[in-house]
């Protein structure tokens, strides 16, 4: 499928001061994530999607900011809330939609679904439905990069809830011990499903990384410029062999824990939701800055909107029309 809006991909060798075109590409990616997920929600509410999905809307600046400092061959691992990371790392929305609908054309031939999209051509080692479960994969990928000397880095995305998993702590220890080029990106959206993280987390998650001697930053995750800058510094350190980093970004998911989580007032207030949406929206903040700095104008932004919207709609249709995998697929790929 043609994806016109997507053709302005970031070049490799990341600039500390992206130019207008680069910023606009990031903006476009953020729009792409948002429109993709709105369409996913529609697929769910119109009963066209099997199972559930966990929407990333509200957190787009993190995935895009971080992945924009990576090269295509750099690795990421992702979570149950993984569409944003996947798109930000370069995946095509049509093939993603196909995966979400369990179609043969999907990234995993329909075998993975929303929580398991892997796109190894773009360095995405997979979303993961075990909270914290991908940390070993990210650290292992960084281990490979170090041993093979190929200069790659690995980024491990996870929510603050994953800090409950000792497994994550173990892998952070390994990473720091051996100075592996891995960046732990903690997306702190304040909720573990339906429980506020202060009820599950002693102390500040970032301090746990500091205790290991890991380079640690705690930043606003709604401002992509902050995310970009923070991630770039961490990735450059890692590439220089100076070891891992732990970046905690404060953020918010606008929707429920998953698409079916509609009535949320028992665990968080409408006011809180409204405050984030109205005052801290990563797309709005970014657009305002781009306009204020005169790096673009409304017309260009509207053009991106229109193109992405069309791309997303085409992608969804492609997936809806696509065939399911052949029944024989059920028993292939069990063993390599």
């Amino acid at each position: 499928m043609a994806k016109t809006a997507k053709q302005t991909k970031l070049k490799t060798g990341k600039s500390a001061t992206p130019d207008a075109e680069e910023w606009l590409t990031m903006y476009e990616q953020m729009v792409r994530i948002r429109r993709f997920e709105e369409r996913v929600n529609l697929l769910y509410t119109s009963a066209k999607m099997p199972g559930l999905a966990h929407l990333y809307i509200g957190e787009e600046a993190i995935a895009v900011g971080v992945c924009s400092v990576l090269n295509p061959e750099d690795y990421i691992t992702s979570t149950h809330r993984g569409h944003g990371h996947c798109i930000a790392k370069g995946a095509d929305v049509d093939i993603m939609f196909a995966e979400l609908l369990g179609k043969a054309a999907g990234y995993c031939k329909g075998k993975g679904g929303s929580m398991h999209i892997a796109d190894q051509a773009n360095g995405n080692l997979g979303a993961n439905a075990i909270v914290g479960g991908s940390a070993g994969i990210a650290v292992g990928a960084a281990f490979s990069a170090q041993r093979l000397g190929n200069g790659r880095v690995a980024v491990c995305f996870f929510g603050e809830g994953a800090m409950g998993q000792g497994f994550l702590a173990e892998t952070m220890n390994l990473a720091q011990l051996w100075k592996l080029p891995v960046i732990f990106v903690c997306e702190n959206n304040m909720y573990n499903e339906y429980t506020h993280f202060s009820e599950t987390t002693a102390g500040n998650p970032a301090d746990r990384a500091r205790a290991l001697g890991i380079h640690t930053e705690e930043q606003d995750g709604q401002d992509i410029r902050v995310v970009y800058e923070t991630a770039l510094a961490a990735v450059e350190r890692a590439r220089r062999g100076e070891g891992p980093a732990f970046l905690m970004f404060h953020t918010y998911r606008y929707h429920g824990h998953h698409v079916g989580d509609i009535n949320r007032e028992y665990y968080r207030s409408k006011e809180e939701e409204r405050d984030w949406v109205e005052n801290r929206d990563p797309l709005a903040l970014f657009a305002d800055w781009l306009l204020a700095k005169k790096l673009t104008d409304r017309g260009v932004l509207d053009g991106i909107e229109a193109e992405v919207k069309e791309e997303v709609e085409r992608g969804a249709q492609f997936a809806l029309d696509a065939p399911y995998p052949d029944p024989s697929e059920v028993s292939t790929n069990v063993y390599a």
Binding site: S114, N128, G166, N192, T195
Partner: protein, 336 residues
């Protein structure tokens, strides 16, 4: 061998989810040392909403939201059980028991024996099993075979609201670690549950349907599948006896063997992976115990030996169905 359906005194109908909630509520009321701990068990009432309302009656001191720390909360349960409490640890998806294996198997299961009988671990690990929810490979497994393998543990796999309630109350009162597996797809299953207090002993199989021509030993939701199969078989003149062991350990070998001796043919149906699974144990118990009575080999129907695929087109192929049970039964009875 008891047939508790005969004991039912009321005509009250509950879902399996409601029956489980009622069992917990009754035991929480009866015994102040009982508590429930798990991720999102309190206000959210679990991801499946099965515990909704319990926190209102018993408070957050006894229905406790935990961090995402399956090993940790299981370990806490072991220690609390050793020192006077009766923990019910909630592990959201049965797939996550992977994370509890050390505490369940190296600690809970062995402490009574290793201490020469001085210490004991009266805890219940409640978790789920069952596919067909389009939840993919990490949220669909039925891993009860692992716990069934381990001396020191007891394992419950209820198939009706009535059984679920009576067995869960027994589990909570048992002085040993008990793993209690609830099929996610059965939470809405309805059935009669008397108002009166009752418990169901472990290790007593229930004949869910009497029959003369073939024995179908089935666990958990596979009992429902087998009952449906039995109806279809009855239409062609094959009367199947459906035997529900209700606990995989202790296993009511006698009842199972007696039924097989009577019918001289047997099928074992379980939703765990077939290979090295529950069907293997039960089939070999029958093949041994009823050897001189069998007219045909014992057949096993487990989940297909593949990671559970996301796509509905594939997932439905992996679980045993009434049709597959019927086909197998017909073949065994020489009716193809």
């Amino acid at each position: 061998m008891s047939t508790p359906s005969a004991e039912k005194t009321g005509a009250r109908v509950l879902t399996m989810g409601e029956a489980i909630r009622e069992a917990l509520a009754e035991e929480l009321r009866r015994d102040p040392t009982v508590f429930v701990m798990g991720e999102d068990v309190a206000e959210a009432g679990t991801a499946f909403k099965v515990l909704l309302g319990l926190v209102d009656e018993f408070g957050p001191e006894r229905v406790i939201d935990s961090p995402i720390s399956e090993p940790g909360i299981t370990g806490l349960g072991v220690g609390a059980a050793m020192t006077g409490m009766r923990p019910v640890i909630d592990i959201m998806f049965g797939d996550f028991i992977t994370l509890t294996m050390d505490q369940m198997v190296n600690q809970a299961a062995k402490i009574h024996y290793m201490s020469g009988g001085k210490l004991k671990v009266p805890m219940v690990l409640r978790t789920t099993m069952g596919a067909s929810r389009r939840s993919a490979a990490q949220h669909s497994q039925s891993l009860h075979a692992w716990f069934s393998h381990v001396p020191g543990l007891k394992v419950v796999v209820p198939s009706t609201p009535y059984d679920a309630k009576g067995l869960l109350k027994t589990a909570i009162r048992d002085d040993n670690p008990v793993a209690f597996f609830e099929d996610k797809m059965m939470y809405q299953l309805k059935g009669e549950v008397p108002e009166e207090e009752y418990t169901i002993p472990f290790g007593v199989a229930d004949i869910k349907r009497p029959g003369t021509d073939i024995t179908i030993v089935a666990t958990s939701s596979m009992v429902q599948v087998s009952l449906a199969a039995a109806e279809m078989l009855a239409e062609i003149g094959i009367e199947a006896e459906v035997v529900d062991p209700r606990t995989t350990f202790p296993l009511d070998k006698e009842a199972i063997i007696e039924s097989a001796k009577k019918t001289s043919r047997a099928i074992v149906v379980d939703e765990g992976y077939q290979r090295y699974g529950v069907t293997a144990e039960i089939a070999s118990v029958i093949a041994d115990g009823a050897f001189y009575y069998l007219d045909a080999p014992v057949k096993r129907i487990g989940a297909m030996d593949v990671p559970i695929p996301f796509s509905p087109a594939l997932e439905d192929l992996t679980v045993p169905t009434a049709d597959s049970v019927v086909e197998t039964a017909k073949a065994l009875c020489g009716r193809n």
